[in-house]
């Protein structure tokens, strides 16, 4: 692909050449380009090129009412939309002092964890595909779809749930919902050994990913890596545990870590996280029937809603890492400023450029996907 503004550069005679990697390629869920400079098969330098999915969310949100933005936020990260909704709602609740009912908090956690499972299943498939294995992606996508079915039942939408609004969630769970989620979790748990056989114990995959794309803990901290990618270097930082929101401090779960910091470690961290998420969901399912009450705190008429003056930097742990919203209200009916700090913003640009450099061409896609970068989050 040669965009019209691409100028063919004449380089000094050398064995090096340039390759446009993207904007459409298997390494990422979305459009994202990488210009890699190669010497033989070795990457000499890389230059990330984003913005293919830029929509100007932050500008759009400044022009819409507080309530209208709830339909906009999930679109910032398509594979894992729930943390976006929750984070935006939490920020507004923080500013305006809305008290979220207990039941809504648990329901949000249930959604967050289901969304995390869905995102990780998608990730397994994608990561395997970058190493040339396509069966896991068939499995992952099909199993993820079962979660989407439950989301559809809960919220009326498969991918964009638009279910969390400031004050709580939009409605209560349907009849028999918890039972069906529980059955789904049983199924997923029973599937895990099969995934192990297919992917995690698969020697092709192990050898392709182990020791590839290594970051050590020092580098990860210096580069601002968060989420599973940081935990794969041995540091057990998780917003859910360290800066708890909703009811995460009442839940019993572990923060899985790995030490080697390679593609393989990152995958394994996510696999363990998926197990932990199932564990959290089980706790929510067990607790939810005993938590009565409303699912939403009354909010003012959305057409005449001035969120009081204030600011909030709210963080949640998305499947990609630390997701934060900075929301600033000057007391108007629209936000004055919303800044979305997508977790991928770190590891999809600077970190990626550094990581692929010195590696081999065939690993570029794998390294990208193993970081689980979400380009719409970067572009916004």
């Amino acid at each position: 692909m040669r965009p019209e503004n691409y100028q063919a550069q004449s380089h000094p005679p050398s064995h090096e050449y340039e390759l446009n990697f993207g904007p459409n390629h298997p390494g990422i869920e979305g459009n994202y380009a990488l210009q890699v400079r190669l010497h033989g098969d070795t990457v000499v330098s890389a230059h990330a090129d984003g913005g293919y999915l830029h929509r100007g969310f932050e500008k759009l949100m400044e022009g819409r009412l507080w309530i209208q933005n709830i339909a906009l936020v999930p679109r910032i990260c398509v594979p894992d939309p729930v943390p976006m909704e929750v984070c935006y709602s939490l920020a507004i609740e923080d500013i305006s002092g809305l008290q979220v009912p207990e039941r809504a908090k648990w329901l949000r956690v249930l959604q967050l964890e289901l969304s995390r499972i869905a995102a990780h299943l998608f990730y397994f498939g994608g990561h395997a595909a970058t190493t040339g294995m396509y069966s896991p992606s068939f499995w992952g996508v099909a199993d993820r779809d079962l979660i989407l079915d439950r989301f559809e039942e809960l919220s009326g939408g498969r991918v964009y749930h638009i279910f969390n609004i400031p004050g709580g969630v939009r409605r209560d769970i349907p009849e028999g919902f918890l039972g069906r989620v529980s059955a789904l979790l049983d199924y997923l748990e029973a599937r895990l050994p099969e995934y192990d056989d297919l992917l995690f114990r698969n020697q092709v995959f192990v050898r392709r990913s182990k020791g590839v794309g290594v970051i050590d803990q020092q580098q990860a901290l210096a580069w601002g890596v968060t989420g599973p990618n940081l935990r794969a270097t041995g540091l057990g930082f998780d917003v859910r545990r360290d800066d708890p929101y909703l009811i995460y401090n009442q839940l019993d779960f572990e923060i899985p870590t790995e030490d080697s910091g390679c593609c393989w470690a990152r995958t394994l961290v996510r696999r363990s996280e998926l197990q932990q998420s199932i564990r959290i969901c089980r706790q929510v399912i067990a607790a939810l029937p005993d938590i009565g009450g409303p699912v939403r705190a009354p909010i003012p008429n959305p057409l005449a809603w001035n969120v009081p003056v204030g600011e909030s930097y709210t963080r949640v742990e998305s499947s990609k890492g630390e997701l934060a919203y900075y929301v600033l209200s000057t007391g108007g009916e629209k936000p004055y400023r919303v800044h979305v700090r997508g977790p991928s913003a770190m590891h999809a640009v600077q970190v990626l450029e550094k990581m692929v450099t010195g590696g081999r061409l065939e690993d570029v896609a794998q390294i990208m996907f193993s970081l689980d970068a979400c380009p719409p989050e970067v572009d916004r």
Binding site: Q68, L72, G156, P174, D197, R201
Partner: protein, 610 residues
């Protein structure tokens, strides 16, 4: 915690055989063709046209500007009922199926279905613009998906409670019952408004209620008052005793209690210092004097509104009032506990301060004749009001203790002292009947310590004329209201004193042709013991002041002056406005005042041009 996967464990060489078990599994592939969607699915829209009132609230909440309001001729369009012949049409090139339109819809008419497949070619792209009706996008039935429930409803259906005096406290004196909103309450109440504008359309004088409500919500009382003064110089009065057609039309009232538009108006007027109100009222006053003179007979809401408009247009206005003070029926017909005269006086003062010349205690027909007015002024407005009480003319109604309600109210308002017997019966079921009953009950309480008040209404409670609030409050104050009683005669004791009222049970009031022809059950006769009977069955205008000559010259319509749409009578120099034309209602009178003023101004300016 690290994962338990042993990467070195390659497994048995026979491990791939495990995969044979997948042959025994059910395939995950779904059959070709759309699956039924979930119960809550957010698919294409449907809209129940019977329920939809065309309020356009869905349009306002739509984040994608996907909804257009379509004017559809032939649908019911009744501003008074709060129904518009508009229906939302949705652009599926914008819609994101978030369902906010469903959650906010005041009527609950719009909902989403479980239908989700629509494909078209480029020339068929018009099919993306859809006018949802109950049949669905493709006229095939799909069950409803995301629709309104109590949980996802985004509107606040409950009005801010208005603090009012307890019945025991208020029955003892004439203090104003309702306390008015605090700043916080007003703000919360104002925030309930969805800006549909139904109130604006329903209001006789087309008050810009959405605008002043929004201004109140923004905390800008000055702007609110400005919005109010665009159409209503009797806002202190209307903020208290308006018949609030706006609230009947309010779309929030479809499923909840309507926005307290009247109380918000009252709040705005009371919250702003009179000097500032005066300044706002004077805005737009013409500096140029037209040199034309207008006489207005009667200083009630209609007359004073006309005076307000005309003086701002630069004309010289003189108001002739027979009584001591201005206000007309609002002063002499509405009891103090509902409308304190100080509030009324604020409205009057503002209008007078603009330069209106007031001539109190000047009765037209006695102190000055109509012919003189015609001579001296360029135009004359008759805003006479309805001050004469109608009589039932039943046997015994000529007794001295059988009184007319309006007459009593006027006397009480003027400060006359009145001895009230311990038992009183009021005939009538309208607001005036409630007013006099409650006024007299207060006097009874003061004079006797107990309330002994009975109201006999012709109508049954299902068709009652008085406002439900009035009925409720009367009941709280210990007034007995008996519905469906037709007065037969007043019982006069042998000693000449009044003994009470005899009534029959009413079976029906109107005949098949909807004419007034009450039928009674003669077997159900009751005697209501009373030392005074008050008739409150309607009022009429005192047209005696016109003089025979003028009465002859005018055209009449069932006892009322015949006027055109702008209040002009059959004589070119004479206009009539207010209750004497429309029947009793403050806000109608204000609207009438505006109409007449516009018409006069046009007439005068045209005359100059010609």
């Amino acid at each position: 915690m690290s994962s338990d996967i042993d990467y070195k464990d390659a497994g048995s060489i026979l491990a791939p055989l495990k995969n044979l078990r997948f042959f025994a599994r059910e395939p995950v592939t779904e059959p070709l063709g759309p699956r039924p969607a979930a119960e809550n699915y957010r698919g294409f829209h449907v809209n129940d046209w019977e329920l939809c009132i065309g309020c356009s609230t869905c349009q306002k909440v739509c984040d994608n500007a996907a909804i257009s309001m379509i004017h559809i001729p032939g649908l019911p369009n009744d501003p008074v009922k709060g129904v518009r012949d508009h229906r939302p049409a949705i652009d599926y090139g914008r819609c994101c199926w978030c369902g906010l339109c469903v959650d906010i819809c005041p009527t609950g008419s719009i909902s989403l279905t479980r239908e989700y497949v629509h494909t078209c070619t480029e020339p068929e792209l018009d099919s993306y613009f859809v006018l949802p009706d109950p049949n669905g996008m493709h006229k095939t039935h799909f069950p409803k998906g995301w629709s309104k429930t109590e949980q996802n409803d985004l509107l606040d259906h409950d009005r801010q409670p208005m603090a009012e005096m307890a019945p025991e406290a208020r029955i003892g004196d004439f203090a104003e019952i309702v306390a008015g909103y605090t700043d916080q309450q007003a703000l919360l109440e104002a925030s309930r408004c969805v800006q549909c504008g139904m109130c604006h359309d329903a209001c006789p004088t087309q008050m810009h209620a959405p605008d002043y409500i929004r201004a109140i919500w923004q905390g800008n009382v000055e702007l609110a008052v400005e919005e109010i003064y665009r159409t209503n110089p009797f806002a202190h009065v209307c903020g208290r005793v308006c018949t609030h057609k706006c609230e009947d039309a309010c779309s929030i009232g479809r499923r909840g209690t309507p926005v307290a538009i009247r109380w918000l108006k009252r709040y705005a007027m009371d919250a702003l210092a009179p000097a500032k109100v005066k300044k706002i009222a004077a805005k737009g006053k013409s500096r140029k004097k037209s040199g034309r003179k207008i006489a207005i007979v009667g200083a009630g809401p209609a007359g004073m509104t006309a005076a307000f408009d005309l003086i701002k247009q630069g004309h010289a206005v003189t108001v002739f009032e027979a009584l001591d003070q201005a206000g007309g029926m609002t002063r002499y017909g509405i009891p103090y506990y509902r409308l304190p005269s100080e509030s009324l006086q604020r409205d009057i003062d503002i209008i007078v301060s603009l330069g209106v010349e007031m001539r109190y205690r000047t009765r037209v027909g006695v102190d000055v004749s109509m012919a003189e007015l015609e001579q001296e002024y360029d135009a004359v407005v008759l805003a006479l009001g309805l001050q004469l009480g109608r009589s039932t003319r039943i046997p015994g109604s000529d007794h001295v203790q059988v009184r007319a309600a309006v007459d009593l109210l006027r006397r009480i308002a003027a400060g006359e002292s009145l001895a009230v017997p311990d038992k009183v019966v009021v005939i009538g079921g309208g607001n005036v009947a409630m007013d006099i009953a409650r006024t007299l009950a207060r006097l009874q309480k003061q004079q006797h310590g107990v309330v002994g008040m009975t109201v006999c209404a012709l109508e049954d409670f299902a068709h009652f004329l008085a406002d439900p609030e009035e009925v409720r409050e009367s009941g709280e104050e210990g007034i007995e209201i008996i519905d469906a009683r037709g007065p037969r005669h007043c019982v006069v004791n042998d000693d000449g004193t009044l003994g009470g009222l005899c009534t029959w049970k009413v079976l029906s009031i109107f005949d098949e042709q909807h004419r007034f022809a009450p039928k009674f059950d003669e077997s159900d006769e009751r005697i209501h013991e009373a030392g005074m009977v008050v008739e409150s069955i309607g009022q009429m205008t005192d047209t005696g002041l016109l003089g025979d000559e003028l009465t002859e010259a005018l055209e009449w319509n069932r006892g009322r002056m015949k006027v055109d749409a702008f209040g002009r009578t059959s004589l070119p120099w004479l206009w009539a406005a207010g209750d004497c034309v429309n029947g009793p209602d403050v806000v109608h009178a204000v609207a009438d005042g505006h109409r007449v003023a516009t018409s006069i101004n046009e007439y005068l300016t045209q005359e100059v041009a010609a």
